[in-house]
């Protein structure tokens, strides 16, 4: 369960344990994560997402 490639985790090295499930954010992704206009939209989106979960009623039911 230990990641095999210790030296530089950002590097993609073919045929290693890591390469089989390699994932890392692109520069574009990193940019959008901090780009304030986009994040303002996300902020509104997140609040809607959270309200939707809360609208499931917290699973709190009263017995019939």
């Amino acid at each position: 369960m230990e990641n095999k490639k210790d030296d530089d985790l950002m590097e993609y090295v073919p045929y290693t344990t890591d390469s089989r499930s390699f994932i890392a954010p692109t520069k574009y992704t990193l940019f959008t994560r901090l780009f304030i206009p986009w994040q303002l939209i996300k902020f509104a989106h997140y609040n809607i997402k959270m309200l939707r979960i809360l609208s499931k009623g917290h699973g709190r039911f009263m017995d019939e």
């Binding site: 369960m1 230990e2 950002m10 994932i23 017995d63």
Partner: protein
């Protein structure tokens, strides 16, 4: 007139107490017993632990809140519960050594966890070699040690940081995950990233499990596991990881572990923050004849038994069911006693339990987050209100973790312009593979990372403190 006694004033206890008093008014008494007179907003301790939030901002005095609400507050620790009708009381010990017997009609045990550092030799800041962010004094000490390591890096001394869980059955991986990212963020902010080796060690069978069996979300036309999310953040920040690991012992500057495959290893460190396993707060349960009935009231780890199916714990992962999880949180022997928040005993883990070849259990305990604790505290309060006001014979409200969702905001750096957090919502908390292909309803299960997540985390800090203070419109802020 009924008297409801609430043990503990954390997320579960305080939510229950405020809702009880609001609904029951002056006709009935609500008493809160807690050894600390402050409410602690625990989720922000990860910021205290890296020095990015002042400790005072995470706590407030409950005395004026309880005065305003007309709740009686006893600043002491519950030591014994005598549950039999003829002699029904809680024995409380105050700081000055005095004791008092507090009678009750209904009792809510919301005492949270005992930090069980003793489970791993050398674990913890008091008698061991690792730090913790699970109490405020610990978080402050952790910050001091972190800043000392920062000073050393400034002097050109490379430092090794290890963050994660300190035992195979620990929970709260989410808090450790937040801490490691904030630690990395603070080091990078100071331009010292090339002086730090940062390693994650966790009992999760795979990264991103978080003790909830992992999550799958829909993203860019694919179904993606949370493992990839977690892995992506570690690669981005150059954090190494060891997963599926039980820490066998912690020594000065190093720790030994064994993993699910039986591999023994060790990690050297200059600084380690390791979350301990939790146990129930040590409270005795005594029947009318003076017999100790704790084994009937609690599971071996000391958490209180409620309406869960505890026989399911002996079954394999594949046979666990949603119906194993409690709904009403009342004790089955004494239906006027409830447990809410971390204090209730879960029937089994949520994540699959593994054993190393030598039999060492590596099984993350189920997290009972602040949100779940608030929901449960509120639900128990509603049942008691119904029993007191309308004479209901049994608890009438239910809230199973198999039927409600969770919102987890995992901070990855505290800054209003350069910070970020992972927002993860899931529904339900306990996966249901019979109903949903990936265990959860993907319309409500969602994950994303970015600055907006940090804004949400910051907003919730103030929103919840407002709610817990019982300020204007507090009751409309969701649990």
């Amino acid at each position: 007139m009924a008297r409801i006694v609430v043990l503990g004033s954390g997320f579960a206890g305080n939510t229950a107490a405020l809702n009880l008093k609001k609904a029951l008014g002056r006709k009935h008494e609500v008493v809160v017993i807690s050894p600390r007179k402050h409410f602690y907003y625990i989720p922000s301790w990860i910021w205290v632990g890296v020095g990015s939030m002042k400790p005072e901002k995470t706590q407030f005095d409950l005395t004026p809140v309880y005065e305003k609400f007309g709740i009686e507050f006893k600043n002491g620790a519950a030591e014994e519960i005598h549950p039999d009708d003829a002699d029904r009381y809680v024995s409380v010990k105050y700081n000055d050594g005095k004791t008092e017997q507090v009678k009750y009609d209904y009792l809510i045990n919301a005492t949270g966890p005992k930090l069980n550092f003793a489970a791993t030799p050398g674990l913890g800041p008091d008698e061991g070699y690792s730090d913790s962010v699970c109490s405020l004094p610990h978080a402050v000490k952790t910050k001091d040690n972190f800043l000392k390591a920062v000073e050393k890096m400034k002097q050109g001394k490379r430092q090794k940081f290890v963050v994660g869980t300190g035992h195979g059955t620990a929970t709260c991986q989410g808090a450790a995950f937040e801490y490691i990212h904030n630690l990395e963020f603070e080091i990078a902010k100071r331009g010292l990233r090339n002086m730090a080796d940062i390693t994650w060690i966790s009992n999760e069978p795979t990264l991103g499990d978080f003790g909830v069996g992992g999550v799958v979300v829909r993203r860019n036309g694919n179904f993606i596991s949370g493992k990839l999310f977690a892995e992506s953040t570690f690669r981005e920040k150059g954090i190494k990881w060891v997963d599926g690991a039980h820490v066998r012992n912690v020594k000065e500057g190093s720790l030994d572990y064994v993993n699910i495959e039986g591999k023994e290893g060790s990690l050297d460190f200059d600084f380690a923050m390791l979350i301990p396993p939790f146990a129930g707060i040590p409270i005795s349960y005594i029947d009318k004849d003076g017999n100790d009935i704790k084994s009937q009231m609690c599971v071996p780890s000391g958490f209180m038994k409620v309406d869960a199916d505890y026989t399911s714990g002996a079954k394999p992962f594949e046979e666990w069911k949603n119906s194993d999880w409690p709904k009403k949180y009342n004790n089955l022997l004494y239906k006027n006693i409830f447990a809410a928040g971390i204090a209730f005993a879960p029937p089994h883990p949520i994540s699959k339990a593994f054993k190393a070849p030598d039999g060492t259990l590596i099984a993350p305990s189920p997290p009972r987050t602040g949100m779940a604790s608030g929901i449960i505290g509120h639900t128990v309060a509603l049942s008691i209100i119904d029993m007191v006001k309308n004479g209901a014979e049994e608890p009438t409200y239910s809230a199973s973790m198999a039927e409600f969702g969770a919102i987890c905001i995992t901070s990855m750096g505290k800054s209003m312009t350069g910070g970020s957090a992972a927002l993860l919502t899931m529904y339900p908390v306990i996966p249901n593979y019979d109903k949903y292909k990936f265990g959860r309803n993907l319309n409500y299960t969602f994950g994303d990372i970015g600055l907006a997540g940090h804004w949400v985390k910051y907003m919730l800090h103030y929103l919840f403190i407002w709610k817990m203070k019982g300020k204007f419109l507090w009751q409309y802020i969701p649990d």
